[in-house]
Symmetry: C2
Subunit: 210 residues, 2 copies
DNA sequence: AACAAGTTTAACTAAACAGTTAGTTTTACT
DNA sequence: AGTAAAACTAACTGTTTAGTTAAACTTGTT
């Protein structure tokens, strides 16, 4: 039988590996990530990755599930069905920005996954995305039915919000690296919850309200 | 002296290399791209890349300049300064979507560059982006000064539009691959100019108009 | 035709890489 | 204390990769 302390040691090693892997995959992408570098970052022997988790693909799938799967679940479970469509749409933008700030690796990993056409995206994760898209679609259709929202293509709204937030946050390293960018851009940070979220909420609601 | 026909032969080889490289870099990213695969795709000997252009980094920089630099220039030169801020903002969205459709490699390459924090982004290309951001900023500030637009953070509008368009277009392979996505999403294509552009123009203008 | 400059090729090298293995230490349980 | 399973380590292997080189071919010029 496996005792508690052995279990916790195992879990600790796995946690170190997954944290390091998420960081390296976010920085360098699947192809750019080096197993030796992940091991070094995690301060464990490289063979431990193969022992506890598996090869590079298995490790990547695990990282995706860890980061995206949990976020998606949290997202949907916390939506209050009794709120108005306006409030729900605000909730979505607010929850999205907070999730992105809480896990800064989400934006780069999602962007890379999209750029590669989802070559390494497990179907379960695609299902998580589908749930969120369905949620936003319902909010917008409910609003249109109630006559508070204009008729829109929900996926376009979803794209503007999700893509916009990812773009804003993801552009931070580039914005801050190069001196060529204008000062009004250079003074912005990488935080999207808070003021940025408020402004996006206002803009999007103004756009869709009847 | 270098004659016409030698020159055209040289140019032809370089063109083959750059076209192949753009495709492979878009599909696989900088780290994922293989010099042998680019050579095979271009139907030339791998040594020709090093002879005519240089190493992998130089090739990537050349591809970026070819795709982004030209687009950015075209963008700014075609803006009609005599138009109203509303018309200019519409022009920007319209030009962006047409550029994205004309060059399908732009979206994935830009997304990867952002995800990597611009690790391989030459400063000249960053300057091209800065010009476009400056253009959008001017349009929005001009509109606000004239009292036709509300006061906004221009870079947020820029992010919503650019990120939104890239997200919509970039998500096409994932949307069409997996059966889990709802039908209202599955029926959408990857084209962003035309109907998608019109709807984004309407939404964004509605959002920023006083 | 002879030459030189530009272009192309196939074969090569050295380094980096994912993944393995045999042997060692740690842990939990009796 | 003894033991067996689990966790770990260092050194290794075979392959893939970016980049090179020397020799051959092509083209324009005299």
């Amino acid at each position: 039988m496996v005792s508690k302390s052995v279990e916790s040691k195992r879990e600790k090693t796995i946690r170190r590996i997954l944290d390091a892997a998420a960081k390296i995959f976010a920085e360098s992408g699947f192809e750019g990530a080096r197993m030796d570098e992940i091991a070094k970052q995690a301060k464990i022997n490289k063979a431990m990755i193969y022992y506890h988790i598996g090869d590079k693909k298995a490790l990547y799938a695990q990282v995706l599930h860890d980061i995206i799967g949990n976020a998606a679940e949290h997202f949907i479970n916390n939506l209050d069905e009794n709120q108005s469509p306006e409030q729900k749409l605000k909730y979505y933008i607010n929850a999205l920005t907070r999730t992105m700030d809480q896990n800064p690796l989400l934006a780069p990993i999602m962007m890379r996954e999209q750029a590669s056409g989802g070559q390494n995206l497990p179907e379960i994760i695609a299902g998580d995305f589908a749930l969120i898209i369905g949620m936003v679609t319902n909010i917008l259709e409910e609003g249109a039915k109630q006559g508070v929202f204009i008729k829109t293509t929900p996926f376009i709204i979803y794209s503007l919000v999700t893509g916009g937030v990812m773009f804003y946050k993801g552009s931070y390293p580039v914005r801050s690296r190069y001196a060529v960018f204008p000062e009004n851009v250079k003074k912005l940070g990488d935080r999207v919850s808070g003021e940025v979220s408020s402004e996006i909420e206002k803009l999007i609601l103004k756009a869709v309200k009847k």
